[in-house]
Symmetry: C2
Subunit: 506 residues, 2 copies
């Protein structure tokens, strides 16, 4: 079957590019809903029509978080004929894109897919219209070649990913035992290789604890000439407090924050050895080459661990202080310092909030200041760590071996993709991050592109992955999910994404 499938895919290259061009031409920008909501809807309908042509059933489900005052794009659900003997995979993708305008510095119109040197330039080409359409092309190939799908496929496409996946978490919570009730595996193709040539599978993401530290000294901004020397300035306290959080070597200085971070085992360390990753080219990517040419860690292993498996703390900025250019002699009345930590496994955002709160209280006490201080955690999300040993990952690795004749790198990422955790926590089923775009695809940036090789190999990998999934034996584990969270657990930051927790294991 493999040869026929690969040959069929290879023949259709031009058609795939044309169809990707049709999708890219729809400016489905989710951060500009006031003007682009109809475009997202159009893009949803484009994909829905495709599903229909493939003999699937589709549904444009009203966004559960939308209101008549603030309509949100629908969710697109797709089903194909179900064989109860087969396992079920839910593939996720998003059809919305980041904003783009040629004046931002694009070399060609961002909403016109433009081929140059084997690359397809266009907004959404790699993030995420290319990968999302690839699932449909895989199904199309099976239909036209008369090959049975080896697993049942459920499609879940959203239109708000680039704006926080609004509505999706509610959907996942509400549908964990309905639309998602018989899902055995999840597959998300919305991240990237860590290099340009070697495929990878992503088994970990860091969590997030985002804080706002507020200090207020007076009711309104004052003149530093007139009032300097008279009042306890809020900025003085805030800057000193923010200065106690992290040092210039990136070490977090908050007592207790590292308590739950597991030491690195030799086994884990060995995991990093085969990863293809070039520190020198990473300096270019990290944009430090022309400034200091220095990273926090000089060798591959330490650097990847610092980005993937250790927490970090970044100071993002201050709201309420003077942030313009030039000079303003202001004593800001109320300032809000923004900082966040990327969390790793076993670091609970709830506990992190506690240790940060205790740290701020201790440090503020030392300042002997009468100003008002307040700490808010704006977002909390647990990290996600899966096991590359899971059959879902093994299936993808086998597919990659078939297409690329190599084993994938096993990678983690420093960022957070909260739906991964949401899928797993709501259903107990394994989620796989299966990237098919390259590290230099420039998602979110100018000149976003998708290599034709990635497009073509991606379709092949996704097809092979379904066949590898089809080989997995054992009973369907779909019957034991759904132990609702308690009220108390629902109060926990991040609980919105884990309205239910499932105890079942494959």
């Amino acid at each position: 079957m493999k040869e026929r499938f690969f040959a069929y895919v290879d023949e259709r290259q031009r058609r795939y590019i044309d169809q990707l061009g049709e999708a890219v031409a729809i400016p489905s920008v989710s951060s500009q809903l006031d003007t682009h909501l109809p475009d997202i809807q159009k893009m949803m309908e484009y994909a829905a029509n495709f599903i229909q042509r493939l003999g699937g059933q589709w549904e444009l489900r009203d966004n559960p978080d939308g209101t008549s005052e603030r309509p949100l794009p629908p969710l697109l659900l797709g089903h194909f004929p179900v064989d109860p003997r087969k396992k079920t995979v839910c593939v996720y993708g998003h059809l919305d894109v980041q904003p783009a305008h040629i004046d931002d510095g694009w070399d060609s119109e961002p909403f016109v897919l433009t081929e140059r040197d084997g690359k397809l330039f266009g907004r959404g080409s790699t993030d995420d219209k290319g990968p999302a359409l690839s699932w449909l092309w895989v199904i199309e190939a099976h239909k036209e070649l008369g090959i049975d799908l080896p697993v049942n496929i459920k499609i879940l496409y959203e239109g708000m990913e680039e704006y926080g996946s609004e509505g999706l978490f509610t959907f996942i919570r509400d549908e964990h035992d309905k639309f998602l009730g018989d899902v055995d595996f999840f597959c998300i193709s919305d991240n990237y290789w860590i290099g340009k040539s070697k495929p990878c599978l992503t088994y970990g993401l860091r969590g997030l604890a985002y804080f706002e530290l507020i200090v207020q000294g007076c009711e309104q901004d004052l003149h530093s000439g007139n009032m300097g020397g008279a009042v306890h300035e809020a900025m003085t306290d805030l800057i000193r407090l923010m200065g106690t959080l992290v040092d210039s070597q990136g070490r977090i200085l908050i007592e207790g924050v590292m308590d739950d971070v597991k030491p690195v085992t030799p086994e884990e360390e060995a995991f990093y050895d085969p990863i293809e990753f070039d520190v020198e080219s990473f300096k270019e990517e990290a944009k430090v080459k022309s400034i200091s040419n220095k990273l926090l860690h000089g060798n591959k292993k330490d650097l990847l661990m610092a980005r993937w498996r250790f927490p970090t703390l970044s100071l993002h900025g201050i709201e309420g202080a003077f942030s313009g250019s030039g000079a303003k002699t202001v004593i800001p009345a109320k300032v809000k310092g923004k900082f966040s930590m990327r969390l790793v496994p076993d670091q609970d955002p709830v506990r992190i909030e506690q240790v940060v709160r205790a740290h701020i209280a201790r440090e503020f006490e030392k300042l002997n200041s009468p100003n008002k201080v307040e700490l808010n955690m704006l977002h909390g999300a647990k990290s996600w760590l899966s096991s590359p040993d899971h059959p879902n990952y093994a299936a993808a690795a086998a597919a990659i071996q078939t297409v690329f004749q190599t084993t994938p790198d096993y990678t983690r990422e420093g960022g957070s993709i909260p739906i991964t955790t949401a899928f797993e926590e709501a259903t107990g089923m394994n989620a796989l991050l299966l990237p098919i775009g390259a590290c230099d695809d420039m998602a979110h940036s100018q000149n976003e592109k998708y290599n034709i090789t990635n497009l073509m190999n991606g379709i092949k990998v996704l097809g092979m992955y379904l066949h590898e999934l089809g080989k997995i034996g054992g009973p369907k584990p779909s019957s034991c999910r759904c132990i609702p969270l308690t009220e108390e657990e629902l109060m926990v930051p991040g609980a919105f994404m884990k309205g239910f927790r499932c105890k079942c294991e494959m």
Copy 2:
């Protein structure tokens, strides 16, 4: 003469209010030159016509810093017939105003002078159209009563004061031996009493050293999930450096910064005793009442000294970091921390820049960071300190005694009015700050007002002041000024305002 003058002034109250209303109706907003330049010109012509009616000569002098691409309002110079036996006073005022719009929270239209409870509400009423017109009303009274002016009067009104007095410093430098060549005294009525009822004379202003501390870690902003742990973050360094500058009790932590600050002598201390100043109502003015109700100093003397005769350091904000509301997971590439010090006598901005630069170098060294750091002094201005014993001050004190039957408070201010130093340094002649508005006049703010009592008593004080000046004997000291600064001295921050320095003393 006094009785006739006072009676004449009292009779004309309605007329003064009407004329102030005409002036307030002209929205001469200097920060919005693109739309309001014609209004400033109109206001200048309004005052020029007034001078002409009084038999004076006037000149609208092109602003020396204006260009055809960027026209600036002219300077208004006014002369009255000169008697070479009399001394000459140059009175300064400004005819431009801060922006104002009723939607900002005004209770009545800001450009319609509106009387309520003995107060005249309107933009510019107290800052500075009321005081500026008062000089003309004084001359008018003399003319109509047939009383000789006891001194020669030169009028210098500008239209850019609320936007940094652009052009004025160049004028002062260029005209120190021409228009200003025969001036014996300067009088500036553009500040405020420190209370609501007791007049004061201001003999000191703090200087300024405004810094921008730049740290750059990478070429462009990065994602904290992806890059957190990999790069030396600029914000970490900047926040830590800013945290070494001042503590929560307002103490400046920069080595050497206090070296030139003279200790307080018992004589000086005694100076503060008679000052009418209520710490409790100041808490309201300092806007801390509802927050902490705490000031850096609890008693009048310490508080006034902290605002007037000691340096202070304020952290104003950061440019280049996230300053919006909500959460953004950014690692800013290049951040600029803004802070400034108010300087006091004997603190030279040049030396202050050196000690700050040395401090930053020392502290940055401790951080062991490869990031790029840079310190710029954006503005440097020396403080100004005069002596209340000078005959110019004695004249004003005697005038106040005549009108108010009280001696004035002698005050300093925490802010900087650089033209004061500019006048003195260019000519060697004494400058007096003679405020006639009250502390609650809300200059620059909503509901700016001018009390009718301040308007009326102000005209009387200015008139009596001229007569007291007329009594001062001794030779005219106008012949020995004008030792030009060296090229090197001109490079010093603040030198723009002291193009020439004069050694002559009264």
